[in-house]
C-alpha cells in the first residue's frame, strides 16, 4: 500500500532523513520507534506532504501512485490520514463543521461518532481552542473516523494523555485500524477482516499503545536511518533495557 524508496528529506539546509526504505502493506500496523530528533515526525510529515519538508531524493508510492510531490489534499483524498500531535487552533471553525468536512461529502453521523470518543460536548467549540492533550487526541480521532483513511499516520497517540483517556484512545485507534468487527448476521468475522484494509504507521515512545493495537512490525529510526526491524514488543523491551545505544553500533 505504501512504499518508500531511498527517501531523503531536508528541513531547511539540514538533511533529516537519509535514505529511508519502507513498505507497509494493506491492513498492516507498523510501529516506529526512535529517540527525540531522529526524524520520526519528519517521516510522517513527508508522507503527508507538508511544505517545510523538502524531499531531495527518493520516492513515495501510495496505492501504486507516485505521490512524492503531490499536494497534501490529494494525498488525503487518496486515503492517507494523519493524527497531529500539536494541531493549530482555528478560531471560528466549529469542531462539528470540520468533522463534517472530513467526510468529504459522505453522510456522517457526527454526534454518534463524537459520542464514541466522548467528545459530543465539544462539537460546538472552535477546533483545538483550549483543548487539553487528551482532548486533542480525541478530536483528531474523531476527524479521522469521519475521514475513513486507508493509511493512518499517528504521531505519538499517547503523549499528554492520562491513563483513563489512554484506554479510550487506545481502543479507538484499534477500532479505526481493525474496524468495528464482531459477529454479524450477514458476514463472518473473517470476511469483515479481509475487506478492511486500514493500515497504520504509529510513532511511539512509551509503547503504551501496543497494549491496545495489534502491531505487526516495528523498526527504529535513528539519526535519519531506519534500522532494526523486529517484532514491536521485542524492540520496546530492548529499548527499555538498553536505550538506543545499540543502534549506534548497528549503524556503524
Amino acid at each position: 500500500m505504501l512504499k518508500i524508496e531511498n527517501l531523503h528529506v531536508n528541513i531547511g539546509d539540514c538533511e533529516v532523513l537519509k535514505g529511508i526504505n519502507l513498505k507497509i502493506h494493506e491492513g498492516e500496523t507498523f510501529i516506529l520507534f526512535g529517540p527525540n530528533g531522529s526524524g520520526k515526525t519528519t517521516l510522517l510529515m513527508s508522507i503527508m506532504g507538508f511544505g517545510n519538508y523538502t524531499i531531495t531524493k527518493g520516492r513515495i508510492i501510495f496505492k501504486r501512485k507516485d505521490i512524492t510531490h503531490a499536494p497534501i489534499h490529494e494525498r488525503a483524498k487518496l486515503g492517507i490520514g494523519m493524527s497531529f500531535q500539536r494541531p493549530p487552533t482555528i478560531h471560528g471553525l466549529k469542531t462539528r463543521h470540520l468533522v463534517e468536512m472530513c467526510a468529504q461529502g459522505r453522510a456522517v453521523d457526527v454526534e454518534g461518532l463524537a459520542r464514541k470518543v466522548n467528545f459530543d460536548s465539544f462539537l460546538d467549540r472552535d477546533i483545538n481552542s483550549g483543548f487539553s492533550g487528551g482532548e486533542i487526541k480525541r478530536s483528531e480521532l474523531l476527524q479521522l473516523m469521519a475521514q475513513q483513511p486507508n493509511l493512518v499516520l499517528f504521531d505519538e497517540p499517547e503523549s499528554g494523555v492520562d491513563l483513563e483517556n489512554m484506554a479510550l484512545i487506545g481502543t479507538t485507534v484499534r477500532q479505526l485500524l481493525d474496524g468495528d468487527i464482531g459477529p454479524k448476521p450477514d458476514r463472518s468475522i473473517k470476511q469483515q477482516k479481509d475487506s478492511l484494509a486500514t493500515a497504520g504507521l504509529i510513532i511511539t515512545h512509551t509503547g503504551y499503545i501496543l497494549e491496545y493495537v495489534n502491531a505487526d512490525r516495528a523498526q527504529v529510526l535513528f539519526t535519519g536511518h531506519l534500522c532494526c526491524e523486529a517484532r514491536p514488543r521485542d524492540i520496546l523491551e530492548h529499548i527499555r533495557k538498553y536505550g538506543y545505544q545499540e543502534c549506534v553500533r548497528c549503524l556503524q
Binding site: A76, G92, L93
Partner: protein, 387 residues
C-alpha cells in the same frame, strides 16, 4: 486625521427630499436588496419597529409593539420640548465640521425609546439610505433604553446601487439606564465613493449592558469613527464586536473607546479586520478609572495579498487594581492552519476560505437567525473578491 478631512462643499446637503413610503415592499428590487444586506426586512416580520430615512427625509416609521417608541428625531424634538436631557448632551456640536453640519442643517434620524421595564424581544430595524447622486446626509439619532428594559436595534446604512458619490454624517447618542440592556447591531453597506463620518457616544448607568456589533463587508471610500461608551454606574458592562473587511480602495479608520468610570464595570473590545487591498486603522482604548474594573481589548488583523492594517490598542489605568489587557496580531493566515485542513482533504482555496470564514464569524454577536444568514451570505459572496 487632518489629511482625511472631507470637503463638504462637494456634496448636496439641500433639496433631496422624498415623500413617505407606506410599504417598504413597494421599493425597487435593487433597493430592497441593499436594505436586506443592511439587515432590514421589508416584510417587517418579527420586528418591533421599523424606520427608514431616505436622503434628506424620513419616509417610513412604524412602531409595532407596545413598550417601544420609534420616531423621527425632528418629531421627537417637538414632542419632548427639544429633548434637553438627551440632544447634544454626549457629543459637542462644535467638535468638528461634521457635527457642526448635523447641528446646522439636520435632515433627520431616529429616536428610539423604551418604557421602563419593557422587554422588547423583537428588534427595531432602521435604515439610513442614500439614493441621490452626490447627496450629503446629516443625521442625528437618539436611543434611550429606560430602566430595566431591553432592546435590540438593527441599524443598517446603505447607498443605492448606482450612487457614485455621497457623504453620510451621523451623530448618535445612546442612553442606557439602570439595569437596562441594549444590543445594537450596525451594518454598513456603502459604496466606492462614499465618505462616512459617524460620531457616536453613549452612557451606561448602574448594571446597564450595551452590546455593540459592527459589520462592514463592502467597499467604502473613507470612513472614520470612534464611538465612545462611558460606564458611569457600578456593574455596567459594554462590549464591542466588529468585523471589518476592506477591499482595494477602502480607507477605514475605526476604533472603540470604553471608559470604566465606576467600580465593578467591565468592558471588552473585539475587532476582526481583514484587508484585501484597503487600509484599516483599528484603534481601541480602554480606560480604567475606578476599581475594581476589568477591560480586555483584542484586535486581530489579516492581510490577504495586499493592504494595510494598523492596529493601535491603548490601555490606560489611573488606579492600582485595574485589570486591563490586550491582544493584537496582524499577519497572514498561518500556513500551518491551511496545511492542517488540507490534510483533511480540502484544497488550498477551500482551506483558506474556511479559515477566513472562521475569522469573520459573527456567532458571538447573537444576531437574529435570518440576519445572521444574510450576513454569512454576504461574507461568502464577498469572498469572490477576496482571493
Amino acid at each position: 486625521m487632518q489629511t482625511h478631512d472631507l470637503d463638504l462643499k462637494k456634496y448636496q446637503f439641500k433639496g433631496a427630499t422624498s415623500g413617505a413610503i407606506g410599504d417598504l415592499r413597494t421599493m425597487s428590487a435593487e433597493d430592497r436588496q441593499q436594505l436586506l444586506m443592511s439587515g432590514v426586512d421589508v416584510e417587517e416580520r418579527e420586528r418591533s419597529g421599523s424606520f427608514l430615512h431616505l436622503d434628506h427625509s424620513n419616509v417610513h416609521c412604524r412602531t409595532m409593539q407596545p413598550g417601544v417608541e420609534v420616531m423621527d428625531i425632528k418629531a421627537a424634538l417637538k414632542k419632548y420640548d427639544g429633548l434637553p436631557d438627551y440632544f447634544w448632551r454626549l457629543i459637542d456640536k462644535n467638535k468638528d465640521q461634521y457635527t457642526k453640519a448635523a447641528d446646522k442643517n439636520l435632515h433627520g434620524g431616529y429616536f428610539i425609546k423604551t418604557e421602563k421595564g419593557a422587554k422588547i424581544t423583537q428588534p427595531v430595524q432602521s435604515c439610513l439610505f442614500i439614493k441621490g447622486q452626490g447627496v450629503g446626509q446629516n443625521i442625528h439619532n437618539i436611543i434611550i433604553v429606560e430602566e430595566d428594559s431591553e432592546l435590540h436595534i438593527i441599524s443598517g446604512c446603505a447607498v443605492a446601487h448606482d450612487v457614485k458619490e455621497a457623504a453620510h454624517l451621523g451623530v448618535s447618542e445612546f442612553y442606557i439606564k439602570k439595569g437596562a440592556k441594549l444590543t445594537f447591531t450596525m451594518i454598513h453597506n456603502w459604496g466606492e465613493e462614499v465618505a462616512v463620518r459617524p460620531r457616536s457616544a453613549g452612557v451606561i448607568e448602574e448594571n446597564g449592558v450595551f452590546l455593540n456589533n459592527y459589520i462592514l463587508l463592502k467597499q467604502v471610500k473613507d470612513l472614520q469613527m470612534y464611538p465612545t461608551l462611558a460606564l458611569n454606574g457600578p456593574g455596567a458592562v459594554a462590549r464591542f464586536n466588529s468585523v471589518i473587511v476592506a477591499p482595494h480602495g477602502s480607507y477605514v479608520d475605526t476604533g472603540n473607546r470604553i471608559l470604566l468610570n465606576a467600580p465593578e464595570t467591565r468592558g471588552e473590545i473585539i475587532a476582526r479586520t481583514l484587508t484585501t487591498g484597503g487600509t484599516i486603522i483599528n484603534r481601541g482604548h480602554i480606560g480604567g478609572y475606578a476599581v475594581p474594573c476589568k477591560g480586555h481589548l483584542e484586535c486581530k488583523g489579516l492581510i490577504l495579498g495586499e493592504g494595510v492594517i494598523h492596529a493601535i490598542p491603548e490601555l490606560e489605568g489611573t488606579k492600582p487594581g485595574v485589570e486591563l489587557s490586550h491582544e493584537a496580531a496582524v499577519g497572514k493566515i498561518a500556513q500551518e492552519e491551511i496545511e492542517y485542513l488540507m490534510a483533511r482533504g480540502m484544497n488550498e482555496e477551500e482551506a483558506t476560505s474556511t479559515i477566513v470564514r472562521g475569522f469573520l464569524n459573527v456567532d458571538i454577536m447573537g444576531l437574529p437567525p435570518e440576519l445572521k444568514d444574510t450576513v454569512e451570505k454576504t461574507i461568502s459572496d464577498s469572498e469572490k473578491d477576496m482571493f
